[in-house]
Amino acid sequence: MKFNNIKITIFKELRGIIRDRKSLQKLILYPLMIPLVILLFGLLFDSVNESTYKVGINYALTTEEQEIIKKLDNISMKQYNNKRSLEKAYNQGKISGYIIKDDNTYKIYADTSQNSGEIVISMTNVYLDSYNQILGKTYLIKNNIDPNKVFNSIIIQEHTLTKDESNVMTNIVFSMIMTYLIMIVIMVCVVVVTDATSGEKERGTLETILTFPIRTSELVLGKYLATSILSFIIGLIAYLSSIPTFFIGKEFFTSYKDITFNTNINTVLLVIFVILLTSLLSSGVCMALAGKAKTYKEAQSSLQFITILPMIPYFLRFMEIDNYIFNLIPIANCGGALNDIVANTINGKTLLTIIVTTIIYTIIILMYISKQYQKEETLFS
């Protein structure tokens, strides 16, 4: 095998991709998605946490009720004359829900299919429970009964086992970012592979190359390495750009204040290594899938589904499913590993399994590709 031929092919493929305006636009846009996602989610989390929902009422608040509501961050009350004016205000979007008081019955109206409706229901329940307790206590005191004996006959103490209060938020944010990171690597592979395989067939340039004194294995390896190199570089840029974006995000968004982005050198190197493994495997999988595609479009559609693979660990995490077998799912396991590495929850056994299986999958895929591209139906389909 001549390394010079592989080098020329790598250079040819990279130059072709970089000079193609549409492909270049994609390569620039993909890594920009990560900082954009970080900032957008910071904005979203802050807006959810800081939003105050207006609740309409048809009664005047007592001093005790006013005190309770003051302590609740997410809701404020506005008084209306009657039910009709409450309904009108709700339909006009001036209030997120309303309470109608009828004697000692408080009827809460809110749309629970909306996030705002859910919050209104839960916060008004908190408010009314608290108010109910105050009324109860007042009654008991009037009747010379110690309210502590009624309400505090048992004592509840809450002890959190959470090591770091920011963990929930950290897991959500990091899961999303690492999922996107793997998706970016795959999307770059799709762009390069479609051009390098079916694109070359469609243009009719593959025939020219095949007449050169180059072995098919050198040609395939050149195309494979060009895809791996570019997807790795773009993945690396995406990851590295996420670090300063997080520090900027911490300055601007209160939701990110408690999040610690692990920039320990070992973690960074491990993440880079997993990105490299993902690039090597994804490039191979894409080349194998695109091999028989006759046209650019056919290749694109046959490659679309693998961009969904990184979503698997994301969903499994939300469903709280943790099975060791999932570490064997190609590509998806790399996404899972990245999540665990940045969250500092990775264990040696899992990491080793993912590394070894990814290397084995890559070798198998490369053997398959080299056989596949020897076939005339692949080269001339």
């Binding site: 243009r203 009719g204 340039t205 025939e207 020219t208 004194p213 005339e376």
Partner: protein, 253 residues
């Protein structure tokens, strides 16, 4: 010298749901092309010319038979054999996002030429095909004629001894065609060995020393244009072809 010995190529085609039928694109084809000779390969669409040329160029393997290029077989050392051939097809496109110079450099690099030789050779071919005015332009911005000149230029970068030309003048204007035909004649005088496939019967009659008429994957006649005309009692190769195969005259230009 190119020797084509008993070449057959079998393919499968789908004839219905999951049903496949075997057929021969080329069947038991033998001929040779000597040094300093242009041999025309003539035939209608689907005759098996492109498949045969792909086999001769070493990019497709025959089902049976063997191709020898300067007495060397692809089976023994295809890389060495490919260094002495050049394949040009009118249908083959070039990389549109690179300049003519970049393409020539890339092609020469595949042939293992060093930088100094590449520079020298580029100067020669740029002059030979009058490419100075557009040599630094991206190929995608060139006219059809200019693109085909670049295509021919990349073919001669490694100064091959054997040429396999498939519809090299297809779709070109008279001037661009003439540039390519002049180049082919010039290479013949240098003792090069050329296989020239074309639809244009008159063109073949003018430049080919011998022609191989092929139809439905089989050779129907082989010889100099004069010999074939005499054998078929016709006055030109076009009429000779129809005498031999019959069929619709509109298929052949």
């Amino acid at each position: 010298m190119i020797e084509v010995n008993n070449i057959s190529k079998e393919f499968q085609k789908e004839i219905g749901k999951g049903k496949k039928q075997r057929f021969y694109a080329d069947e038991d084809i033998s001929f040779e092309v000597k040094d300093g000779e242009i041999v025309g390969l003539l035939g209608p669409n689907g005759a098996g010319k492109t498949t045969l040329l792909r086999i001769i160029a070493g990019i497709m393997k025959p089902t049976n038979g063997e191709v020898l290029i300067d007495n060397k077989s692809y089976e023994k050392n295809d890389i060495e054999v490919k260094k002495n051939i050049s394949f040009l097809s009118g249908n083959t496109k070039l990389y549109k996002d690179i300049s003519c110079i970049e393409l020539l450099k890339m092609c020469a690099s595949y042939y293992g030429m060093n930088k100094k030789d590449i520079e020298k050779r580029i100067n020669t071919v740029v002059k030979r095909f009058d490419m100075s005015s557009f040599k630094n332009q991206r190929i995608g911005n060139l006219s059809t004629g200019q693109t085909q000149r670049v295509g021919v230029a990349r073919c001669i970068m490694h100064d091959p001894h054997n040429y396999i030309l498939d519809e090299a003048t297809s779709g070109l204007d008279i001037i661009s065609s003439q540039v390519i035909l002049d180049f082919i004649k010039e290479e013949r005088t240098k003792g090069k060995c050329i296989i020239y496939s074309t639809h244009y019967m008159e063109e073949a009659e003018n430049i080919c020393d011998r022609v191989v008429l092929i139809n439905k994957g089989k050779i129907v006649a082989i010889g100099t244009p004069k010999e074939i005309e005499q054998d078929t009692k016709t006055t030109n190769i076009r009429d000779a072809f129809f005498t031999l195969i019959g069929g619709n005259k509109n298929e052949i230009q």
